[in-house]
């Protein structure tokens, strides 16, 4: 079977940075990415057909993405990028399986860097399955790179500076943002961020977005949470309420807002299905988004030859992902014999310095945005918690009453997490909700185990599975 010297899973900021450093050191690099173009979610590029006429209007992330992508261009001839490739199994003997188009392949690798990124935290609340309820990232992908507005009147609910960014993008595109409901204590943001010295770039972004929100006259409801979305067949109104410091609604503060579109952004969840498949050890870290793989200072996981970088190892944003990617790329290059220990250490020095600076900012953002208990108390007995298999919270509670003790038993008894999303949508919230029901901490109730294929693949494609040539 063909053996790749280094395979990188994901062409977002972390994966691209790893590829740049490793290729510069002389490693032969192969990247597998699900999308038609590199960039990941944050640096997502336009599809062919679109022509960007004024890049200045497309925001800071777009400009930063272009910078990394042009760095990637300098090594492009030394890197093989397989786009539209979906990894569906990792097995012993450094072997992986992926599908691309109508074909499925196996290949071996010497070193692997997992840079799988993150996704919007799904939060179950009454009405969250109605058409017109989008994750903040889902709405953003439409506005940013497809240039369509998913509605007319928007309510943004969630936490963190990204809500402000989305409000700016929607307004700039001609949509009406009726209000932003921010669950956290936003008045402290800028002050706290100034405490994270040296990160003027990001403070500048947040201040710029806050200015845009004020200029557009968008009401910013501090300490407010989504309670319910209502409507016949689609969102027609939303209910929000003021919350205490645990994000629990205060009686008498409920208000109904007429909107057709709800964007929900309560932070992100690391995508750990690949590090799980690789059998890396994980720990539960609420401040970083949930389950994350354990790593050493070289970004190596507990499994030999497997590195992990960026948001899939704990939510920290693209700037951290880039520096972690560089370190992993260099560490792997050194292990493969392309760099001496000294050379690798020297090339890592700047990234280590930057990471130290970013660490303080990350702590500040975590403190502002980590979900509080009230977020996991919004679902009612008849609220669906598993969107795919249409399982309600009541059914999950019944399974617990019938003796289910952990995530896997609830899955077996109710089918929660057995659908097409493979537990990505229900898992994160249910980890918290079931733990609370059982009076245990979330790391004591197991997790929904991904099983290959981790993404649905047509049987015809699997039947033609072969070795990569």
């Amino acid at each position: 079977m063909k053996e790749l010297e280094m395979v990188i899973l994901g062409a977002g900021p972390g994966g691209l940075a790893a590829a740049v450093e490793a290729a510069r050191a002389g490693v032969s690099v192969t990247i597998l990415d699900e999308n038609p173009k590199p960039g990941g979610q944050i640096f997502r590029q336009f599809h062919d057909g679109f022509q960007v006429t004024s890049p200045g209007m497309l925001g800071h992330d777009y400009a930063r993405g272009q910078k990394l992508l042009s760095e990637f261009d300098t090594v492009r001839d030394r890197v093989e990028l397989l786009d539209n490739a979906m990894v569906w199994a990792l097995s012993e003997g450094n072997e992986l399986a992926f599908n691309r188009g109508d074909a499925s392949y196996s290949v071996r690798y010497k070193k692997m860097v997992i840079a799988a990124g993150a996704y919007d935290r799904p939060v179950p609340f009454p009405g969250w399955t109605l058409p017109g309820v989008f994750t903040a990232g889902g709405a953003q992908s439409l506005v940013k790179t497809q240039r369509v507005l998913p509605g007319e009147n928007f309510l943004l609910v969630g936490t963190g500076p990204l809500q402000l960014a989305l409000a700016n993008q929607i307004t700039d595109a001609g949509g009406r943002v009726v209000a932003i409901a921010e669950a956290g204590r936003i008045e402290n943001w800028l002050g706290l961020m100034k405490g994270a010295l040296g990160q003027w770039q990001l403070i500048g972004d947040a201040a710029h977005y806050l200015y845009g929100v004020r200029k557009a006259g968008i009401p910013l409801w501090r300490n407010h949470i989504i309670v319910e979305a209502r409507g016949r067949g689609q969102v027609e109104e939303a209910v929000v309420a003021e919350v205490d410091k645990n994000w629990r609604p205060k009686p008498g503060t409920y208000r109904t807002v007429e909107v057709d579109t709800l964007c929900v952004g309560y932070g992100f969840v690391p995508s750990v299905e690949l590090t799980r498949l690789a059998e890396c050890e994980h720990r539960y870290e609420p401040l970083l988004g949930g389950w994350i793989p354990m790593r050493n200072g070289h970004m190596e996981t507990t499994v030999p030859d497997v590195y992990a970088v960026g948001d899939c190892t704990g939510i920290a944003g693209s700037l951290v992902a880039i520096e972690e990617g560089r370190i992993a790329g260099l560490a792997a290059a050194q292990r493969l014999g392309h760099l001496t220990t000294m050379e690798a250490r020297e090339r890592m020095a700047r990234s280590r310095e930057r990471l130290a600076g970013l660490e303080r900012l990350r702590e500040v953002l975590d403190r502002i945005s980590v979900p509080r208990p009230g977020l996991y108390e919004l679902a009612k007995a008849d609220t669906l918690v598993c969107r795919c298999e249409e399982i309600t919270l009541g059914e999950v509670k019944a399974a617990l009453a019938d003796g289910a003790t952990d995530m896997k038993e609830v899955k077996r008894m109710t089918r929660m997490g057995m659908g097409n999303c493979q537990g990505r949508m229900c898992g994160p919230a249910m980890q918290e909700i079931i733990a609370r029901e059982r009076g245990l901490s979330p790391d004591r109730i197991g997790y929904l185990n991904p099983r290959p294929p981790v993404r649905p693949i047509p049987l015809g494609v699997l039947a033609g599975h072969r070795e990569l040539q």
């Binding site: 058409p131 497809q146 067949g233 649905p456």
Partner: protein, 101 residues
């Protein structure tokens, strides 16, 4: 006819038509099937198996599978990850249909 396309900042590619449940919709090169539907104000992409509830686009990055439709005869196809092509045939999906797992 609703048109939620944003003109600012970009120029679109060639225009063509796709057919959604028998209705002709304008699409542009580079747009996903989901974007074409969203631009036309269309909200419901499928109806669920058990409770017959309407579902539309949710995560937008190919993870949640809420936007599954029957595209060119293939059920369970994610509209947010499928590029619109001239003449492409899109149908609302009912239930899970010949689930291929």
């Amino acid at each position: 006819m609703v048109n939620r396309r944003v003109l600012k900042g970009v120029k679109r590619g060639k225009a063509f038509e796709i057919e959604v449940d028998g209705e002709k919709l304008v699409a542009y090169e580079g747009e996903t099937v989901a974007a074409v539907l969203v631009a036309a104000g269309r909200r419901t992409f499928r109806w669920t198996e058990k409770k017959k509830h309407p579902r539309g686009m949710y995560c937008g990055i190919g993870l949640c599978h809420e936007c599954m439709m029957v595209i060119n005869g293939a059920p369970n196809t994610k509209a947010c990850q499928t590029m619109a092509t001239p003449g492409c045939q899109v149908k609302t999906q009912h239930g899970l249909q010949e689930r291929q797992r």
